[in-house]
Structures are given as structure tokens and as C-alpha cells.
């Protein structure tokens, strides 16, 4: 009976796949509204010259705001699942004796400052070429993961006040700028940057987002990797 159900699921999924491919191949070209041209027409008023960054942080800035909230919510969910365990990391001397760990240590020490530099460059370059806050935050998170894997940064347990401040700072900067713009320049409209200062506002928001996103994404890994095996403590 189980095998029959499995075969039925596979047959139905194959039918769904064929229907989807048929729909994709048959769908007509969009007639009147052409989004790339609309974006290119308005890009002068957006403050940046790269279309994807303009869409992400100006035209659809509301989506980005909600996305940062969703990320924080996921991090809170991860924190809620981890019990209160004591620190279980082995002492650093353990790592220095093994030859392969020495290569990893050396690599981490050389690469992480370079990664911070690359993140800063990606943040600045997002205005006029591919880059931006998300890529820079991802590189910072990767630097954090590399530091943790080579033993230089212990896994995070319960976030202290400075980590909490860093985690929410991106969202707070975004909300403050949105509130300031809504109260002064364009009353009643959410996230309508005035075209004169849009570039500077977008850069401020992106800086806060980079820091926050790097901490959140690194935290998603670092809070999970500190999970101890003996978890009778939280039963």
C-alpha cells in the first residue's frame, strides 16, 4: 500500500511538472507594462545607479524592511530552542598542536581582515555595480563562521547587551530613517525618499543593514553550533 501511494505521488508530481513546463512555454509576453524600462526611467530619482539596489532599497524598500524583521524573528526562534547550557568549547591549546588545524588557523587569521575589507567594498559598490547590503552582510557572516570553525571565536550562548544592540541596530536605523522621512519630507507616505538626499539615506540604511545582517546570519550559525550534546539540563 505504501509503495502504491509513493508511485501515485511520483506520477502526480510528474504530471504537475509537465503542466508547469507547458504553462511556462505557452505564457504570452507581457503586453503593456514593461518593468525594466519603468525602473530605468525612474532610476534618476532613486539616488543610486544600479537598478537592483534601487529596486531593493528604494522602490521596494518596504519589502526589505519586513525581511529584516523576518530574519530577527527567525533568530529569536533559534534562540528559543536552545536551552541554557554552559560553555563547552575545548581550550585553544588543543587546536594549535594538530598540523591541519594550524593551516586553518593561519587561513582564518589572513582571510578574516580581507573579508571585512571586501564587505566594506561591497557595501560601497552596491550603489553603482552589483553588490549592496545583503552581499556584504553575507561576507561578514562567512567571516564569523570561519572564525568559529577555526576556534578563534567561541560559539554564542546567551547574547549580551552589545550583541543584542548590534542585532537590532540595522532594523532600528531603518525604522528611524523611515519615520524621519515620513514626518518631514513626504508626510503620510512610507519610505518615499526625497530625491536630493536619497543616495545618502540609502547608504545609511545599507550600513546599518550590513552590520545587523552580518550579526544575524552569523548568529544563526553560531547559536546553533554551541548546542551541547548532553541536554538533560533543559528537560
Amino acid at each position: 500500500m505504501r509503495n502504491l501511494l509513493n508511485v501515485l505521488v511520483i506520477v502526480l508530481s510528474a504530471a504537475l511538472g509537465l503542466v508547469l513546463i507547458g504553462v511556462i512555454l505557452e505564457s504570452p509576453s507581457p503586453a503593456r507594462v514593461r518593468l525594466p524600462e519603468e525602473v530605468l526611467m525612474q532610476i534618476g530619482a532613486s539616488g543610486v545607479t544600479h537598478p537592483v539596489t534601487a529596486v531593493l532599497l528604494n522602490f521596494r524598500g518596504y519589502d526589505t524592511l519586513l525581511e529584516v524583521m523576518v530574519l530577527l524573528l527567525a533568530l529569536l526562534g533559534v534562540l528559543a530552542q536552545m536551552g541554557k547550557q554552559k560553555r563547552e568549547n575545548p581550550p585553544a591549546g588543543f587546536y594549535l598542536t594538530e598540523p591541519r588545524m594550524q593551516v586553518l588557523l593561519w587561513l582564518a587569521r589572513v582571510l578574516v581582515p580581507l573579508m571585512v575589507l571586501v564587505a566594506g567594498y561591497l557595501l560601497w559598490a552596491g550603489g553603482h555595480q552589483p553588490g549592496g547590503a545583503f552581499q556584504a552582510g553575507a561576507v561578514l557572516a562567512a567571516a564569523g563562521v570561519l572564525l568559529n570553525l577555526s576556534g578563534l571565536l567561541p560559539s554564542w550562548m546567551e547574547p549580551a547587551w552589545n550583541l543584542r544592540a548590534g542585532l537590532v541596530s540595522g532594523l532600528l536605523v531603518f525604522l528611524l530613517i523611515a519615520a524621519a522621512v515620513m514626518m518631514t519630507a513626504s508626510p503620510g507616505l512610507l519610505l518615499q525618499y526625497p530625491p536630493a538626499s536619497a543616495g545618502m539615506l540609502i547608504l545609511l540604511v545599507e550600513t546599518g543593514l550590513t552590520l545587523s545582517l552580518g550579526l544575524i546570519l552569523a548568529g544563526l550559525f553560531l547559536f546553533l553550533s554551541g548546542d551541547a550534546i548532553d541536554d538533560e539540563a533543559d528537560k
Binding site: 508547469l20 534601487a54 531593493l56
Partner: protein, 108 residues
């Protein structure tokens, strides 16, 4: 048949792989892998369809960028829940209901 359309069809096939894997695979970690593959298929369809006539479309690209970041957050939350389920029940599958019980609730 432009290149973008080939990728959109590949995205549909990936979506179907993901849905089948999500339904059929019992191990929770494989369900998470299938869910991620499903998400990647959807992103391919979004960007591939928008680029059907050759010009890159920045609006679906921004949406997919948002989607990738949200997908990794959802994966992390799902992995935390898998660890919690493991520590509570000792196995990495959904708890089996007794066959034919037909009840919508469980008497405590």
C-alpha cells in the same frame, strides 16, 4: 527557446523534485534539503520568466535576493526545531500516528 526559458523550465522541474522529496522522504533533514531545492526552483522560475525576451529584469532579481536570505533563516529555524525534536523524542521523523485512529486530537 532562449536561454532564460530553459532555466525557467529547469526551475519547474526542480520545484517538482522538491515537492516529491518533501512528501515522500521520512527523514526530517532530507525534508529540509527538499524544501531548499523547491525554493531554488521557484527563484529560477521567477527570474527566468522575467527575462524571457532577453533584457534582465531587476524587480524579480530583488525579490529573489530577499527570498534567498529568508530561505536560509527558515532553514536555520527548521534545523533548530529538528534538534529540539531529537532531544525530546529521540528520533528524526515525525511521530507516527496509530493507523486508523481517525481522531483530530489526543487525549492527554
Amino acid at each position: 527557446m532562449s536561454g532564460a526559458l530553459i532555466y525557467a523550465c529547469a526551475g519547474a522541474v526542480l520545484f517538482v523534485f522538491g515537492v516529491t522529496g518533501l512528501i515522500l522522504l521520512p527523514h526530517l533533514l532530507r525534508k529540509i534539503l527538499a524544501f531548499n531545492i523547491m525554493g531554488s526552483g521557484v527563484f529560477l522560475v521567477l527570474v527566468g520568466l522575467g527575462q524571457r525576451d532577453g533584457t534582465p529584469d531587476p524587480v524579480p532579481q530583488a525579490m529573489v535576493l530577499t527570498g534567498i536570505v529568508v530561505a536560509v533563516a527558515a532553514t536555520a529555524l527548521a534545523l533548530a526545531l529538528v534538534r529540539r525534536l531529537l532531544s525530546l523524542t529521540g528520533k528524526i521523523q515525525f511521530p507516527e500516528e496509530p493507523e486508523g485512529s481517525g481522531r483530530c486530537w489526543k487525549n492527554k
